[in-house]
């Protein structure tokens, strides 16, 4: 009778292989990659296919009767005429719109970052047992739809709204401020209000995971609270800053509702408004799709930076 071996026999390894459970077991090569199948399908159906359709509309044509967009799916039939015209407008008469949009989004994102960082930092460091409650309270207004919240702001910011009444009560102003009279500041604050939770959540996630002993080490090594923050906390939270900034910036670039509701002035038109306008006008399908492609091309730059930065961070771990 042979002596039992310390190494698992081939038979037991095959059994474990089939069971897919024991340590040291070899899985089929397709096993782990298959876990990405839902994500791949999701991307194919909800990103690649619609994106290709947008391209096909941008380089396609319109129905001769209804002038509705007719996507052309065969690239060899694509026409670049409409895209070229739209590109010309972007660098011509619509350049103020692009400049507005970048200004508004940059300022709004910066405000979101400063406010969001302070809030996330407080909750992560000093929230204690009440972290979840504080987060829930911070997010609670956002259980109401974005549209409803913007409509509420209209009432608050009207000439006889509570904001003006409060400012006049405090004698800060002697007559109502025309918040809704096409002010860029109102649009920017609307964007901040609408998107700030999407900045707070990723920031909190990263700040909460920072090992407190690292901060204590910084202090032990003679760092002041400020230098510890700038030399330890801030660098460690950089991925959160990038993630939060990307998450709030991308939808802000496509936002059109905030401007429509809180301003309505052509002076504050954003790129999203151009897309909306082209979408809702007969015969402008290719132009609308061209705007979408141009916006995507512009946003690829910060997106690539984000991907490169997160890859570096991951490699550094």
């Amino acid at each position: 009778m042979p002596e039992p071996s310390a190494a698992p026999s081939r038979r037991s390894a095959r059994r474990a292989h089939r069971a897919g459970s024991s340590e040291g077991v070899h899985y089929p090569r397709w096993f782990w990659p298959s876990f990405s199948l839902p994500a791949i399908l999701w991307l194919l159906v909800l990103f690649v296919l619609p994106f290709y359709t947008v391209i096909s509309i941008a380089f396609g044509t319109v129905d001769p009767i209804f002038r509705s967009p007719l996507p052309v799916y065969q690239p060899w039939y694509w026409s670049t005429e409409q895209f070229g015209e739209t590109l010309g407008k972007v660098f011509g008469i619509f350049s103020p719109v692009y400049i507005h949009t970048f200004q508004y989004v940059f300022i709004a994102s910066a405000i979101c970052l400063v406010l969001g960082y302070a809030i996330a930092y407080y909750v992560a460091r000093y929230g204690g047992k009440r972290k979840a409650l504080l987060l829930a309270l911070l997010i609670s207004p956002f259980w109401i739809s974005y549209l409803m919240r913007m409509l509420a702001w209209i009432n608050l910011l009207e000439n006889d709204g509570y904001v003006n009444k409060f400012l006049m009560f405090l004698n800060v102003v002697d007559r109502p401020v025309g918040w809704l009279e096409g002010r860029p500041s109102t649009v920017i604050l609307g964007l901040v209000y609408g998107y700030i939770p999407y900045m707070i959540l990723p920031l909190f996630g990263f700040l909460d995971r920072i090992d407190v002993s690292l901060l204590e080490s910084g202090r032990d090594l003679g760092g002041s609270p400020f230098s510890t923050f700038f030399r330890v906390t801030l660098p460690l939270s950089k991925p959160g800053i990038l993630a939060g900034t990307i998450i709030v910036t991308l939808p802000m670039f496509g936002d059109y509702f905030t401007n429509n509701l809180l301003s309505g002035s052509p002076r504050t038109t954003m790129i999203g408004n151009l897309i909306d306008e082209a979408y809702s006008t007969t015969g402008q399908g290719p132009e609308m799709a061209s705007y979408v492609l141009i916006l995507m091309a512009l946003l690829i730059v910060p997106m690539l930076y984000y991907l490169r930065s997160t890859a570096r961070t991951a490699a550094g771990r």
Binding site: I65, S68, V97, G264, R267, L274, E277, G283
Partner: protein
Amino acid sequence: MDEAVAKLEAGQQADVFFPTIDVLGKLVAADLLQPLNHDLLPALESDNWGVFQDPYYDKGWRYSVPYTLYTTGIGYRRDHIPDDVIAGRDNPWDILWDPQYAGKVGAYPSYRDVMAIALMKNGITDLNTGKESDLEKVRQDLLALTTDVDVRISYSGAYSKLPKDLFWLMTAWSGDMAAGWGYAPPYTQEAYENIGYWFPPDRRGPVDNDLIAIPKNAEHPALGHAFINYFIEFQNAMDNFSWNAYQPPQNQADPDTLTTTEGLYSEVTTWAAPAMYVAPWMPSAVVRQEDFDVGFREGPLTPEVDDHWHDIWEEFIAGART
């Protein structure tokens, strides 16, 4: 309208459809509407204005019946702009460009209607013009709306922002004005009567009507006919008018009494009763049959002209020159 047409084009079924005049020809050309059976629509001939028995856009009313009528004029607040101030101007249309009202002027996000008003301001009555010189005037005027009066774009301006004192002047459809006086606070009679509607006294301005039709793929065309006939019968049409304030072309509805006759709205509401079909303080919002003889219509544009109109509108929307 574009979305509705796209759905119809994609094969979505409906028993009735409410098109505008500018898409009717396209729908017929694409074989998406079915000819109406006039025997099933007796109310059209018995109850509706003669002008719609054989309208220019649908000879022999083969595919459509008229739904509601409206003019496009100017809504205003009397506390800032008394009637005689707007009516006394050499060209009342140009009040929308008066810099003294900067920040208080609103316009619909509707390129055909706002550009029609710019054409009227310039004395151009072809509201479907493709002439370069006409459209250049419109372009300059639209851009001036931004630079001179800092115009706001809003669908709700007529019935929401005028009553709230956010706007003092607004491009406005007569139906919006007839409905909108009581739509927003402060809900006082004084505030209601503060809202006025101006349309040229000689009625030479933009006038139009919407339609009802039956799609080719209607599952229940007989029911569709019954629905249309019900909708254009006198009392039903007037009840609908009382609710949405867009006037139907009814023979029995004497235009001279619409501002003194209470409609269904008076019965179903308590806060605003008595509500006349058209508020007595804005008689210009009443549409008359003769308006279609002297007024000007927005019809379909050729694709090239439509693109040109849209380019101008887009330049305006983009706040060019700011």
